[in-house]
Symmetry: C2
Subunit: 237 residues, 2 copies
Amino acid sequence: MAYDGTRYHGWQRQSRLPSIQGAIEAALEQLTQKSASLYGAGRTDAGVHALAQVAHFDTEHGFKEDEWRRALNALLPPDIVIQQAEVVDGDFHARYSAGSKVYRYQIRNAPLPSPFDIKWTWHIRQPLDFEKMTLAAKGFLGVQDFRSFCAAGAEVKNHLLEMKRVHIEKKGERLWITLEASRFLQHMVRNIVGFLVEAGQARRAPEDTFRVLSAGDRRAAGITAPPQGLFLLKVNY
Amino acid sequence: MAYDGTRYHGWQRQSRLPSIQGAIEAALEQLTQKSASLYGAGRTDAGVHALAQVAHFDTEHGFKEDEWRRALNALLPPDIVIQQAEVVDGDFHARYSAGSKVYRYQIRNAPLPSPFDIKWTWHIRQPLDFEKMTLAAKGFLGVQDFRSFCAAGAEVKNHLLEMKRVHIEKKGERLWITLEASRFLQHMVRNIVGFLVEAGQARRAPEDTFRVLSAGDRRAAGITAPPQGLFLLKVNY
């Protein structure tokens, strides 16, 4: 599914606030007249978007694959779109069966703002040093402990994960930072992007990456990029 | 200037409704403490956007060019951005000095909607016949009477104008229709786009263009495309 996360308090269901999971579960319950539990591949934060989020649910309802898609889209608001529905084996789990996830962060690097990408970019006026950012990014590759880039209050004990790809691309006034990893910790992409932007502003040396990773301390890594530039791009199975 | 026209009732100032002209005039008056009149190159409709609208005003205020830009942007909401300010000769008029204007209409031609371009496209699910549309578009070129494509209630007597360019481009799931003319009549681009879409759906023969133009009757031309796909792209002087 694709969604514009602007008006949602993230993927995860919350009792009184609108969430992506809550909106889709409500549509499922309206369709099947039974309570529904949806399991997503990645719990995107408030204001974060998705181009191809994946989620699964259990049902005994006899809809065909494309009937699910059409019926759910008819019930959902236009900022959430089910792109595909597929019947899977009983042992498939959207989150635990995933081999890796790909996130992309979009920066507008131009002196002037644009009225058309306020909802989809982090606007940074000063030119970022692309070479310095690319150099700093290399240090994230491989199996490493990402505790320094995990939200301070996150309930997770193991911070070890494999970063498979960090790619920085310049497209005119836009800068795309694409990350692929076995899993992602809370705020991890936004904290890595914050760090890379500081490297691009020469406020950090590109060699700092290893030092900050090995510090194992959130306070070593610096700023968190705002949510609206972040997209869950793909989940690989 | 660039603007996202979504929440405005068009370019033209209105007594109680938000307009682009009204918003910029209010910012000018706040800056100069004098009443201000802004003259735009094109009066975009409600919900229509601009990438490079041009407007002029008279002032005796001593700001430098870039000071105007920065001061106005500081006062304007984020969906209106002044991109450039320039001191011009006293005989320059944003509308009457313009040689031609370029508009672009953006269609999303794909089975599924996208949550990311609702505000910027007309979504058409059925595949449009690109060849038929291109053929129908050719008939608009040259000096012709566009009464059939002008809004029925428009207060204009002369419908003769020169269409300099009609270009249709396919970019993945998007279709761009770009028109350049000496001037544009009310709803003209949206009426032409509506006609071209009907040609692309084989609901009209591509040869119909001449017949509809020569009818000189709004009822001959068919549907009006919705405003959100339309952008004022450029004003040539």
